[in-house]
């Protein structure tokens, strides 16, 4: 008789601060046996509990191949993230999941992959990138376009360099015009324009685009010109969620319960949804 809302107790292994208001946290199950048994697919999310504050939804941004811990990344905005900001190694938080659907890594096999992230959208993409790099042979060329307002807002910057060293992987970092600093070496410009300028070889390509709605809106035509059509463009919805198991009605958007049938959708599915997110 399982209580589906009961989280498992997790121990905080490491806390890393990326920007003025973004941190990533590594946690592992207190019960080693559960850690060993735990598995998920990249793209899924979990509900993270700060006892006394509440629960929040974050994507599991570590690769599913890493068995000793899971990682999530958050921005300090609300009540739970305020408390999460103060969390430290050795503290105890709660986790339940994995929930939601995942990236169709199998369907993407053999395809070229284009990962496009804006602002704090890198974590949901990072897990897919690491998974693809760990099974490098199965995938074609990988292009990563990651942009933010200023260099200080970029997340996982150390890993961006590491990814560039893999073969047939091209990493393009960019900052919004006016946000660049003297020592900025990457591109300057909005992501859609940078992507267009990068003239990524088209054909047999799947794209993962996550970021503010306005960025997605202007990136789609560029992808279209590259021949990547709506059914091959994936994104992750950033809805407000509470139960994560399709009961509480919070994430309901049009005919879909984002927590159970999302958060990963193709643009084709997304276009069918009413603009209710």
């Amino acid at each position: 008789m399982s209580n589906i809302y009961m989280p498992d107790l997790m121990e905080v292994v490491e806390v890393k601060q990326h920007t003025a208001d973004v941190k990533s946290v590594k946690i592992k199950f207190k019960d080693p046996e559960k850690q060993a048994k735990f598995s998920f697919r990249v793209g899924q999310f979990g509900m993270y509990s700060l006892f006394g504050e509440g629960e929040s939804t974050f994507n599991i941004c570590s690769s599913s191949n890493w068995k000793d811990h899971i990682e999530f990344c958050f921005r300090k905005t609300g009540k739970v993230t305020d408390a999460l900001w103060r969390v430290d190694e050795g503290d105890t938080i709660g986790f339940r999941g994995p929930y939601g659907n995942s990236y169709p890594m199998e369907a993407w096999e053999g395809k070229n992959l284009v990962f496009i992230g804006g602002g704090i959208a890198m974590p949901p993409i990072r897990c897919a990138i690491w998974y693809a790099l760990e099974n490098r042979a199965k995938y074609g060329d990988i292009t990563i376009v990651y942009g933010a307002r200023t260099p200080r807002d970029l997340v996982f910057t150390d890993e961006l360099e590491k990814w560039a060293e893999y073969d047939r992987v091209r990493v393009i970092q960019c900052v919004d015009p006016g946000g660049e600093t003297p020592e900025w070496k990457g591109e300057v410009g909005l992501i859609p324009n940078v992507l267009a300028a990068a003239n990524v070889p088209a054909g047999n390509t799947a794209a993962l685009v996550i970021g503010p709605p306005i960025m997605i809106k202007f990136t789609l035509p560029v992808l279209d010109r590259m021949g990547v059509l709506a059914p091959d463009i994936y994104t992750s919805l950033e809805n407000r969620m509470k139960c994560g198991v399709g009961k509480c009605g919070r994430c309901n958007c049009g005919p879909v319960y984002v927590c159970k049938e999302g958060p990963i959708f193709t643009m084709e599915q997304l276009n069918a949804l009413p603009a209710d997110f």
Binding site: M1, S2, N3, I4, Y5, M6, P7, L9, S49, F51, G52, E53, G54, E55, T77, G78, K79, T81, G90, D91, T92, G94, R240, K242, C243, V245, G246, K247, C248, G249, R250, N252, C253, G254, P255, Y257, K260, P274, D276, F277
Partner: protein, 338 residues
């Protein structure tokens, strides 16, 4: 041929259940002209006629407005969790209206798809529902318009139909049979239930009308709505809930509380962005969820036409008025005409 029971015998049976420790609930006058489904301490409190529909619904006994899901204790850097085993003491809901019992059956789908919500299912299995057919209705009732009726048996274990002073007893499920075993007298008369309210809309018509998501009607039809939660909380089928932590620095509990899509905070993000910032959008969401999303996903209309939303609405809006306006614009091609 039919089985009947007199009112006194039924009341005696109810007292027996109470004596045996089962939790018995039913409609009762809590206060001058305030009839509600409440737990009963004696059958004298039980109302068997002279009321149309209690102000609340039976969902209170399956999906309570506040329920602890687990308790936590904070000790330094450690936390201890204590699971809350859901209440599964046997309970009997007596004289529930058919529109309430049907609702409970409808909710089974959402509480059991994917992960099973034990809190709901445990109570559901431990409960027996004795429905009481309706002999009257008021201007808010529209059960007939959503496929339910004054004597609909959906979700009921036993159906009581008023029959000259007593009731005809139709046991529909095993649970119903065991409950009334040996307590009914055979009779050759069968109860005749008067006609329910006139059909005002049809779910198919509404489903078609809801296809146009950006219908301008949503800007004007529900202008008078005051965005409170009275309709959702007294509706037998509304099941949205919030999860909050409550306690002090030493420990506390995580609880499930009723929530309503009509309250403005329901979809407000921490960043301040709120996809449903205007009241018309929230009303659209409620109607869409009941007449389009739930039917598409679970094949059941998430509304039993009990009229509680209009009765409890401070401005008597409810959902019927909106449905009628939606269908008024529809061409008559779909479903039988109004």
């Amino acid at each position: 041929m039919s089985e009947t029971i007199t009112q006194q015998a039924l009341r005696a049976l109810v007292d027996e259940w109470i004596g045996a420790g089962t939790k018995v609930a039913g409609p009762s006058y809590v206060k001058k002209d305030l009839c509600q489904y409440v737990p009963l301490t004696s059958s004298a409190e039980l109302l068997l006629e002279g009321f149309i529909h209690p102000r609340n619904s039976v969902k209170d006994f399956f999906f309570p407005r506040h329920e602890k899901i687990y308790e936590y204790t904070l000790k330094g850097h450690e936390v201890e969790l204590a699971d809350m085993t859901p209440a599964s003491t046997p309970q009997v809901i007596v004289a529930a209206r058919p529109c309430d019992t049907a609702a409970v059956a409808i909710l089974d789908a959402v509480f059991n798809w994917g992960e099973k919500d034990e809190f709901y299912t445990q109570r559901r299995e431990a409960a027996t529902i004795v429905a009481l057919a309706c002999v009257t209705h008021d201007s808010h009732c529209f059960c007939t318009s959503v496929g339910i009726g004054p004597d609909a048996e959906k979700g009921a274990d036993v159906m009581l139909l008023p029959l000259d002073g007593g009731f005809e007893v139709r046991c529909l499920t095993e649970k119903g049979k065991t409950l009334f075993a040996g307590r009914t007298q055979p009779s050759d008369k069968t109860a005749v239930i008067p006609e329910g309210p006139k059909v005002k809309v049809s779910p198919e018509q509404v489903r078609a009308a809801l296809e146009d998501y950006d219908n301008p009607l949503w800007k004007t039809a529900t202008l008078r709505c005051l965005s409170c939660g009275a309709c959702s909380f007294t509706c037998p089928t509304c099941h949205c809930f919030d999860i909050v932590d409550e306690g002090n620095a030493h420990g506390g509990c995580r609880a499930k509380n009723w929530d309503s899509c009509q309250l403005c905070m329901f979809t407000k993000h921490a960043s301040g962005h709120n996809p449903r910032n205007v009241q018309g959008q929230r009303q659209r969401q409620r109607t869409q969820h009941k007449f389009r999303i739930y039917p598409d996903k679970f094949g059941e209309v998430l509304c039993t036409g009990c009229g509680n939303c209009a009765r409890n609405c401070p401005v008597s809006l409810g959902i019927l008025g909106t449905l009628v306006e939606l269908c008024a614009e529809m061409p008559k091609t779909v479903g039988e005409s109004k």
